[in-house]
């Protein structure tokens, strides 16, 4: 029993700061990159008025800390992981495997009454199943305040299907750290209790959008701005 007591007390004496990627044995080295799109958003984040922010990438302690330190509320929801729920798999009229978009939207992006000033999509659209991309963007449009902004990253033509999927951490005014999402060896039960077997593999690039595709995807938004970067990633900033 004394060993249990000791272990219990150790939990509360643990590090008070979030374990960074460098300290975690599971994480690979983080790559740093400048982000023009983020730089544009930071001006909005400097607002004294508390903002409502939605991050639909992989859970990032850095992003949560960045937003909350500035007095903003942040909603975090890993849509890519949520899309791997086996319960979503169904078939269309032609018998092709698709994901049930209605079920997906019934279980995700459900924030009653919340209207977001900023939405961070990161590279979600490139890796999300085809059947979910447009429905998700449509839902995000309804959840974004007029004048609110959405930041998304898209690979360019040079990217192959094995382009690593990254999670993004905001570490500075226009600086991101990219952390490759690693393959997991063990099966893990998701929040719904389903076993996510696809978590054994890294996510594969589903498609490469061209500019016209991206404009079409965000056609309901009022404006769109492209930033082309040296690492062959297009950053897209759209305004509701």
């Amino acid at each position: 029993m004394s060993s249990v007591t000791h272990s219990f007390m150790k939990l509360f004496r643990g590090p008070t700061e979030v374990a960074s990627g460098e300290k975690s044995a599971q994480s690979k080295q983080r790559l740093s990159r400048r982000s023009s799109g983020l730089g544009e958003l930071v001006r909005v984040l400097k607002s004294e008025e508390p903002l409502c922010v939605l991050d639909i990438g992989a859970t990032s302690a850095a992003n949560i800390r960045y937003m909350t330190e500035r007095g903003h509320k942040i909603y975090s929801e890993d849509l890519l992981e949520a899309s791997t729920d086996p319960a979503l798999v169904t078939k269309d009229e032609q018998g092709q495997r698709i994901l049930d978009e209605k079920k997906f939207l019934a279980e995700n992006l459900q924030h009653a009454g919340a209207q977001f000033d900023l939405v961070f999509c990161w590279n979600l659209a490139d890796y999300l199943d085809e059947s979910l991309v447009k429905p998700v963007v449509g839902r995000l449009w309804t959840m974004t305040k007029p004048g609110g902004m959405l930041l998304a990253f898209f690979h360019t033509r040079e990217a192959g299907p094995d382009a690593p999927c990254y999670r993004y951490h905001i570490v500075g005014q226009d600086v991101l750290e990219m952390q490759a999402i690693e393959a997991r060896r063990d099966l893990r039960k998701g929040p719904t209790g389903s076993v996510h077997s696809s978590l054994q593999k890294t996510f594969r690039l589903q498609r490469v959008f061209n500019n016209r595709h991206i404009e079409n995807l965000f056609r309901d938004f009022s404006s769109i701005k492209f930033f082309l970067t040296r690492d062959n990633v297009r950053e897209v900033l759209v305004v509701r």
Binding site: V4, T5, T16, V18, S24, T59, R65, P191
Partner: protein, 156 residues
């Protein structure tokens, strides 16, 4: 974050509790709790085998297992790398380790509201089971708990 006292209660991984769980000491939950957890002024740890479907209200909350419900931690909330948390977090300080899964809102509040001020997320099922410790630092083990309407862990 130090426990209020050296005494604590331990809910083992085979224990299932349905109903309201409240107490005036620190609590380690490694079993199943379905209902509500009220430990105002004390600390809660959800162990790696813990599965909690409840709103929790405590001074400090550490999650290593599963939690579906809101967290009201007057001091600090910590999500360890094995945590799977679905719910909103209201606290003064938050720490989330790499690998933790979190779905919900984070609201940093200097003066934390009590759990009663915000709508309960999971439904409180009919209080049909409870397991209580007669003395502190007693491990609760065994099968499904019995029938009292609430569970209170108190110091003698």
């Amino acid at each position: 974050m130090e426990p209020g006292t050296a005494e604590f209660a331990h809910i083992g991984k085979s224990v299932i509790i349905k109903g309201e769980l409240s107490g005036s000491e620190d609590l380690f939950v490694d079993g199943v709790v379905d209902g509500k957890v009220e430990l105002e002024g004390n600390n809660l740890v959800i162990g790696p085998n813990g599965r909690v479907h409840a709103n929790v209200n405590a001074k400090g909350v550490v999650v290593q297992g599963k939690l579906e419900g809101n967290i009201h931690a007057t001091e600090r909330a910590q999500l360890r790398s094995s945590a799977v948390v679905q719910g909103d977090i209201f606290t003064q300080h938050i720490a989330i380790e790499d690998g933790a899964y979190f779905k919900g809102k984070v609201d940093i509040q200097k003066e934390t509201r009590s759990a009663a001020a915000s709508p309960a997320k999971p439904e409180v099922k009919s209080a049909s089971a409870a397991a209580s410790s007669a003395t502190p630092a007693k491990t609760l083990a065994g099968g499904t708990a019995a029938t009292p309407t609430s569970t209170t862990v108190t110091k003698p």
